[in-house]
Symmetry: D2
Subunit: 312 residues, 4 copies
Amino acid sequence: SKVAIVGAGAVGSTLAYACLLRGAAREVVLFDRNRDKVEAQAMDIAHGIQFTPMGSVRGSDDVAICAGADVVVITAGARQKPGQSRLDLAGATIDIMRTLVPQLVEVAPHAVYVMVANPVDVVTYAGLKISGLPQHQFFGSGTVLDTSRLRYLVARACGVAVQSVHAYMAGEHGDSELPLWSSAMIGAVPLLQWGPTRDGRMLDEEMRAAIATEVVQSAYKIIAGKGATNYAVGLAVVRIIEAVMRNEHRVLSVSSLLEDYLEISDVCMSVPTVVGHDGVGRRLVPVVTERERHGLVQSAEAIRAVARQFGF
Amino acid sequence: SKVAIVGAGAVGSTLAYACLLRGAAREVVLFDRNRDKVEAQAMDIAHGIQFTPMGSVRGSDDVAICAGADVVVITAGARQKPGQSRLDLAGATIDIMRTLVPQLVEVAPHAVYVMVANPVDVVTYAGLKISGLPQHQFFGSGTVLDTSRLRYLVARACGVAVQSVHAYMAGEHGDSELPLWSSAMIGAVPLLQWGPTRDGRMLDEEMRAAIATEVVQSAYKIIAGKGATNYAVGLAVVRIIEAVMRNEHRVLSVSSLLEDYLEISDVCMSVPTVVGHDGVGRRLVPVVTERERHGLVQSAEAIRAVARQFGF
Amino acid sequence: SKVAIVGAGAVGSTLAYACLLRGAAREVVLFDRNRDKVEAQAMDIAHGIQFTPMGSVRGSDDVAICAGADVVVITAGARQKPGQSRLDLAGATIDIMRTLVPQLVEVAPHAVYVMVANPVDVVTYAGLKISGLPQHQFFGSGTVLDTSRLRYLVARACGVAVQSVHAYMAGEHGDSELPLWSSAMIGAVPLLQWGPTRDGRMLDEEMRAAIATEVVQSAYKIIAGKGATNYAVGLAVVRIIEAVMRNEHRVLSVSSLLEDYLEISDVCMSVPTVVGHDGVGRRLVPVVTERERHGLVQSAEAIRAVARQFGF
Amino acid sequence: SKVAIVGAGAVGSTLAYACLLRGAAREVVLFDRNRDKVEAQAMDIAHGIQFTPMGSVRGSDDVAICAGADVVVITAGARQKPGQSRLDLAGATIDIMRTLVPQLVEVAPHAVYVMVANPVDVVTYAGLKISGLPQHQFFGSGTVLDTSRLRYLVARACGVAVQSVHAYMAGEHGDSELPLWSSAMIGAVPLLQWGPTRDGRMLDEEMRAAIATEVVQSAYKIIAGKGATNYAVGLAVVRIIEAVMRNEHRVLSVSSLLEDYLEISDVCMSVPTVVGHDGVGRRLVPVVTERERHGLVQSAEAIRAVARQFGF
Ligand SMILES: NC(=O)c1ccc[n+]([C@@H]2O[C@H](COP(=O)([O-])OP(=O)(O)OC[C@H]3O[C@@H](n4cnc5c(N)ncnc54)[C@H](O)[C@@H]3O)[C@@H](O)[C@H]2O)c1
Ligand SMILES: NC(=O)c1ccc[n+]([C@@H]2O[C@H](COP(=O)([O-])OP(=O)(O)OC[C@H]3O[C@@H](n4cnc5c(N)ncnc54)[C@H](O)[C@@H]3O)[C@@H](O)[C@H]2O)c1
Ligand SMILES: NC(=O)c1ccc[n+]([C@@H]2O[C@H](COP(=O)([O-])OP(=O)(O)OC[C@H]3O[C@@H](n4cnc5c(N)ncnc54)[C@H](O)[C@@H]3O)[C@@H](O)[C@H]2O)c1
Ligand SMILES: NC(=O)c1ccc[n+]([C@@H]2O[C@H](COP(=O)([O-])OP(=O)(O)OC[C@H]3O[C@@H](n4cnc5c(N)ncnc54)[C@H](O)[C@@H]3O)[C@@H](O)[C@H]2O)c1
């Protein structure tokens, strides 16, 4: 089993590290155009192999290192700068994909592709079209990270394990995303009926709005404090890789091509989706309020507007 | 961190093994009145330590080995014989508890107690009364195992990961238990609205009834085939131990004393419950149909009837 | 990745359980001629999947279930009875192999075969000949278990982690086996120069002899106490499976065909051996004293004598 | 169980991440004087909790967050710049310790202290003296990382699993360090007698010298390529933390105060050492050649010379 990670920056190298620690694949390769950097990252990670389930890590500036990969994760792209919105990054990253994606598809035609570079939804759509691959084989990490932030905040507020919070962020991985509150559960209880939180206040609309805002703002805050986000995204993407590698059929809010989904079509966006060996499968349609449905439609439009701007 | 397991039979020794493999505690001790057996079990497990996160396993027929445990799991009891109902076992096992529980509480007064011996609900109630401990500190493994069977069957039918199925068995760990279908979810979709399963049939009332029946019948079938159930129960109880040891506040369907829960009182029975360092916390009240509520009340009555028969 | 386990008794089913807990393979299948039993074992294990890295477990009395396996582990054989020597079991188990091995090789011709049934060295030799496979593809679990017992006892005596003890049991998995003391190390110190143990006594020849005896006697003691050994052997065999599946090239004391090894030839016996994807590779020749060399030769003769008795 | 990490830069935050992924402690706290950065690191890591064994991560610029820690790891210090030798960093980092260590000892007097800041041997010695703690309670990560690099390179050359290579780097974590070749083993074979490597060349003195040089040069190379080393060191330090937390008594080449060790005294330096709950225990004395002994003595002198320069 082989995972190829394209881009050995903060996100790509942390992801390689998390793969190793989890034993997600036997072989991890890093590809980056910066040779000294990619070799240094691979060497630094490889030196830790003794402490992990056996595996191998190599790095190169030659795309051939990705040959025969089962999963290809693309993190090559401009890093989000403090204050910059995710959509601003679109043009530069799409340009990278025009060259990169055909090279990758040539050496790894059977891989499942996971886009991470931002703005992930737009770039996934562009990458999918450039690749010419079937839609199930090419998708983005979407709001898997945002979902994990949402669950973390709800869990902390309510005093339950994060694993007992079943809730999803959907829509754009960006400002227009939204939590699907009306289908969210804590254990067997609808989140909307949870009642008092740990500090005695109610989990009411005000508190939920504050949580949703914090999820959306998280990336900005972290980037302001440390210049990049890399740790949680590394784990989120390992989760996706494991779902593919082990053919788990797990429900994850990845960003994939939607057609006739709550009347949304021809856009890549995150909704709860079954992920397995072939990539993305059934997109689940949760019970939504009119307001949630409207939020999803607007999010789709926001993404589509940017994509169209770049000719996709 | 120390876990004491009382009873080194099929269940107790498999549980010790699973603890070791998971690194659930630094120290696992087995206590059983059969000295040769308990020493043999501990030795057989200890010989495998090289292959696991470090730890230690010891066995003894002296209850003092349990001293200072953080968690005490009680599996001592008559094994369910082919065809025998769980309630038939009650008398014998309650008698064991009259002697055993006070001895354990003396050496491990601050431990959280997890009863596994069957019929687990009745024996938990009796054990709690005998122990004199606060209710949160003494509970039973209840339907955690049955819940995992339910999720396994639903996952298999629907073609999704078992970790994406959020559903609970509640009530008696035994014939009167029931799935809480109306609060069950697959990803973000209510299970009742899931639609077609993997083989094209609908997940309709008939199929759900078949799944529920299979859950209830599982133990009988496995006991008929191999004489005992031990593997899944070992993992289910490790899950409970981890929730306590790591103070997870995870929602698990353990059997604990209910008071004013959907009008049910003074009985130990399983409902989705928050489990952490202090043992059981908030019992969650899911949305239930009238039929489900009625099923829970009847299950409570069945348990209470047996308990009362033995003076509890 | 698929592991097939033949024989769903104490050893086979515990091994399947350990595979699941370790995530050693995506798919584990159990094959046994006793249909009710094998189905019950598989069901009991499968019910615990929720608590483990995703995977699947199935059981059948049809050998076709083993088709396409990457590794086949054979535990079908008579269980060692209290008092019975391992060599006494030879005839019956070899007879089983005459039928079983050709069936297995037919459905899983590319698998690596790991023999566990006792007397494992003799049965491995017979199985290898019956199979017609190249020698690297068919070997026995040998003294991997005994080595782990040795390390456990040394670690306990010296007060160091078992992972810091580098020592091997070699020869027959049985009464004539011996520890390779002169190449044994604790950390960077030769075991023969370790000096005082935890209780102040020296790790001298007397103490080493006592440890060696305890290793040899372990199985008898455990079988006397609980009727079978299954836990440590389950972990030892998982370790072998992982070495093959992940192509680890790990040094393990498995039992394989020796040729010109310290003048020993044409016998299957355990020595430190590199194990990887293709099965067994280089057999390592440690520094041995004349006494150790002689012990190995005698052990080889003991095994060969039994094998020849059964026409191998 | 609580681990406090001082310094939330590349090393400290990666270490926190590795702790979480390994479940090495229930609670990880980060302390750094840069508030925005430490909060951002903690938040980024905490968002990934969903995907790991439960735990909590918090960050603060108030040293009180370290109160009651079981282990305190100190990574605060100047980062090694491209080309800069580790010894050049000494002065600045020792100055930091004069203020920092007393504050830490006040809030966490019973913790085991692990120094990581470079030049680690000198800074460990200074920190130990400043702390006033018993010597077993305060040591440095030393050559645990370098040892893992050595094993990685030997394993790759010889075609065996890194876990089957038993060899240690000793002396200074820096230019004067050396491999203890004469006690090194691969499986049960002395490394000096291994013979042909994977590419057919012999593991002779020339190749061993090349490997030793590569170990010493690794950090420079990685820093040149990516500006810091953080991944392998994160795993190496987690290994140390686990040895302490689980009281493993594992043999690790940490840097601790030596007295009468091969005639070396009054210096902190790495040799194979038993590490457990109380910190460092027995320092193992391997068989060394005269050349190796001399190398160790010289390394000790190099470290001592720097320490004395700063009044320690
Ligand atoms: N989807 C998410 O949840 C999520 C989260 C965090 C970051 N991101 C995104 O991930 C991307 C990477 O972030 P980062 O912090 O690692 O950035 P980074 O700048 O640290 O790393 C990017 C790497 O890509 C390499 N690269 C650029 N163009 C390349 C090309 N054509 N071929 C090969 N390599 C090339 C660069 O050399 C660099 O090493 C960004 O787009 C960022 O916005 C996404
Ligand atoms: N709650 C569940 O989900 C669940 C699942 C499976 C089994 N069980 C129950 O667990 C119990 C154990 O099952 P098993 O298969 O391990 O039975 P077992 O007969 O194999 O083991 C029971 C052990 O308890 C010991 N024991 C009995 N009385 C004792 C005493 N007073 N003090 C010390 N030790 C004593 C016996 O010596 C024996 O070793 C049974 O009651 C069974 O019904 C519960
Ligand atoms: N090598 C070791 O380190 C080691 C350690 C422990 C046990 N063992 C050996 O492992 C073997 C199994 O031990 P156990 O305790 O599991 O025994 P067991 O009796 O519990 O199980 C053996 C299983 O094999 C099945 N079986 C027998 N013949 C078969 C056939 N022809 N086809 C399919 N299935 C068949 C039986 O139905 C039974 O379920 C024994 O030979 C034992 O001595 C080896
Ligand atoms: N021993 C090893 O094996 C090894 C390996 C790699 C790095 N290192 C060393 O680890 C240290 C850290 O490296 P890095 O790459 O993380 O550096 P870094 O510059 O990224 O981080 C250091 C952090 O320490 C903080 N800090 C400095 N002084 C402080 C104080 N008085 N109180 C609180 N926080 C303070 C800084 O704000 C910064 O966030 C360096 O000394 C480096 O040489 C050691």
